[in-house]
């Protein structure tokens, strides 16, 4: 059996099993705090703004966006890739670390998975609306239609993307829900409220913790974990092939799939960091999400940041080494210098340089600084997508087609709207669902009890 002595205690405070249940489920039984209601209000307003922009986009068309013939992909695709990247955290956390038998994941995986589900939902809004005629959305399904029967093009990354994101949403939601079944049963058996008993009892699906249930539960976790590990790598690789198969300078390169997958994990882990620092502070969960947990996430961030820096430099080097004038123009006269200098350096500094500060233990253990760095990483990752989408498209082969791109209010509102959906979803999650996997923490906790 896995022994955690090397890593030190994963749960502090020598908790008893019932204490763990009580600590983690406490938000369920207390009145919502003031900040929670304020947060819900603000995020609802943002959501309203988002819904308004969706309404405008559907009723008036893509003409309400700033995209044009040259820059055909604007904020919609930037934000789509950004959200999908954040969504990779849950899978990276729960699944890679599950397969690698890393027990320290158990305090964080639930929140990371919740984030994934909401973020992938946010991401899906953008390409769906970017299709323009959303009522013809079903054309993308492979079904024998009245036009032929003409089937979809299985060689198109855009079609792969649609299937991959649907599969990703399905599998991350099922993995998340599967993990919650035992915890719902815990709430069902502990609550005194009749309403809670009925609602959580419904979702607990009759769980009792019997041998047969646990055995199949673990079996299913490993099945889903194994296939989702493949999926998480392929989803973002497919997103990157949306770019890489087109003959645009700066896009048409084989580095894209690994570069995108690593970038996704980077932004995902940064978002986990942001969220966990808030979560453990407001709900006083420092005994479960310990400083050493955050320290491990910080170390992963340093490592991934190094990969990101290497990827950026590789791209620049290859642009120069290829001798291709269009590649050289895009990288040296459009990104490093030129029209989009600010965005390029924002990306480079936020992603490749600032996270390196966490090599120092002093900085790593100062959570205020770590919190700021984690937010800067997500800002940097947003600029990375901006760089990829806009700089390549705006100035490519034919100078007569060159154009610039500025987002309109509708596009900005839609982005704010998805942030609203994300915050709204996370707040509901904090209040109504155990934020930490109770049964998994109990299983991890027993190692500490045994040692005594």
């Amino acid at each position: 059996m896995y022994n955690t002595e090397v890593r030190g205690p994963l749960v502090l405070g020598n908790k008893s099993l019932s204490q763990i249940t009580a600590d983690i489920t406490s938000p369920l039984y207390t009145r919502p705090k003031f900040w929670w209601i304020v947060g819900l209000g603000i995020s609802s307003l943002m959501m309203l703004l988002g819904f308004w922009s969706i309404y405008v986009t559907i009723s008036q068309g893509i003409g309400t966006w700033g995209v044009n013939n040259t820059v055909g992909w604007g904020w919609a695709i930037i934000n789509f890739v950004w959200w999908i990247g954040i969504g990779h955290a849950g899978t990276a956390f729960s699944i890679f670390l599950l397969i690698l038998r890393q027990e320290w994941r158990s305090s964080i995986n639930r929140a990371a998975e919740a984030m994934t589900v909401v973020a992938v939902g946010c991401a899906a809004i953008f390409p769906a609306l970017h299709m323009g005629r959303i009522w013809d959305f079903f054309f993308i399904f492979p079904y024998p239609n009245t036009r032929g029967p003409l089937w979809v093009n299985y060689n198109s990354p855009l079609f792969w993307d649609f299937i991959a994101i649907s599969a990703y949403l399905l599998i991350s939601a099922s993995f998340w829900f599967l993990g919650m079944i035992p915890d719902f049963a815990t709430i069902r058996d502990n609550t005194t409220s009749k309403v809670k008993k009925a609602v959580y009892g419904f979702f607990a699906l009759g769980w009792r913790g019997s041998v047969g249930e646990w055995k199949r539960y673990e079996g299913l976790s490993y099945i889903l974990g194994g296939i989702a590990a493949v999926l998480v790598v392929s989803v973002h690789s497919i997103v990157s092939t949306d770019f890489a198969v087109s003959v645009e300078p700066g896009w048409h390169t084989t580095i894209f799939p690994p570069y995108f997958v690593v970038g996704a994990i980077f932004s995902g882990f940064a978002m986990v960091m942001t969220l966990m620092i808030i979560l453990r502070k407001v709900y006083k969960l420092q005994d479960y999400v310990t400083d050493s947990h955050l320290d491990k996430v910080a170390k992963i961030l340093i490592f991934v940041s190094l990969i990101m820096g290497t990827a950026y430099l590789t791209e620049i080097f290859l642009a120069w080494y290829s001798g291709n004038e269009y590649e050289i123009f895009t990288f040296f006269h459009n990104r490093i210098t030129g029209e989009f200098t600010k965005q390029f350096w924002a990306m480079f500094i936020c992603n490749a340089i600032i996270p390196q500060l966490m090599w120092f233990k002093k900085i790593r253990s100062n959570l205020t600084i770590v919190f700021i760095i984690s937010i800067l990483i997500n800002v940097g990752m947003w600029f990375e997508r901006f760089n990829i989408v806009v700089t390549s498209l705006s100035n490519n082969y034919l100078p007569s087609t060159w154009a610039t791109y500025t987002p309109t209010f509708v596009e900005i509102s839609m982005y704010l709207g998805t942030i609203g959906i994300f915050i709204f979803g996370v707040l509901l999650f904090m209040k109504y669902i155990p934020m930490i996997a109770i049964s998994e923490v109990k299983a991890v906790n027993k190692y500490q009890l045994k040692k005594k």
């Binding site: 249940t21 299937i163 079944i181 699906l205 299913l220």
Partner: protein, 167 residues
């Protein structure tokens, strides 16, 4: 006879495990064990088998064949289209979509299998023998008809059960 089961309630994993081992030794048949988290010794030694991982593999195997057959039928037989001169049966480029659709199929099929085999579905009315088993109690259940209840009860008490209930 009203009560069909004998429940030994333990508050520690260790005491429950020692009772479990002793009962195995004395060949007292254990109907079920309810625990708040998976206890691997019990999952391995209880004797109940689960083939869900094998079934999951089979789903993957047949889904692969199914998806490739579907792609071949639609893209080659039913309505071959010329995409920039590429062959209709573009097998390497079908692989990506095959992987994703296979993952999709395995997920859905194994979720339903899990729900069916583990007997878990919404508004399920399975009897809850001891509500503490999802919180901090470990419960060993013995079927009185299949095992000697008196002997089981004495083993449970000996090894430190906090209570032995008939239900």
């Amino acid at each position: 006879m009203d009560s069909a089961y004998l429940l030994g309630v333990f508050d520690k994993e260790e005491t429950m495990l020692s009772a479990f081992r002793k009962m195995k030794e004395q060949e007292i048949e254990i109907e079920d064990v309810f625990t708040p988290y998976p206890v691997h010794e019990i999952l391995e030694n209880h004797g109940r088998k689960s083939r869900i991982t094998i079934v999951g593999w089979l789903y993957g195997f047949f889904a692969t064949i199914g998806v490739l057959a579907f792609l071949f039928y639609t893209a080659v037989i039913d309505w071959p289209l010329n995409y920039g001169g590429k062959p209709s049966n573009a097998f390497p480029s079908f692989l990506v979509i095959t992987i994703i659709l296979v993952i999709f199929s395995i997920t859905i099929l194994s979720l339903f299998t899990f729900s069916w085999r583990a007997n878990l579905w919404p508004s399920n009315k399975k009897p809850i023998y001891h509500p503490g088993a999802t919180d901090d109690k470990f419960v060993i259940m013995v079927n009185k008809e299949k095992a000697d209840a008196a002997r089981a009860s004495s083993v449970m008490k000996e090894t430190g059960a906090i209570e032995v209930i008939e239900k």
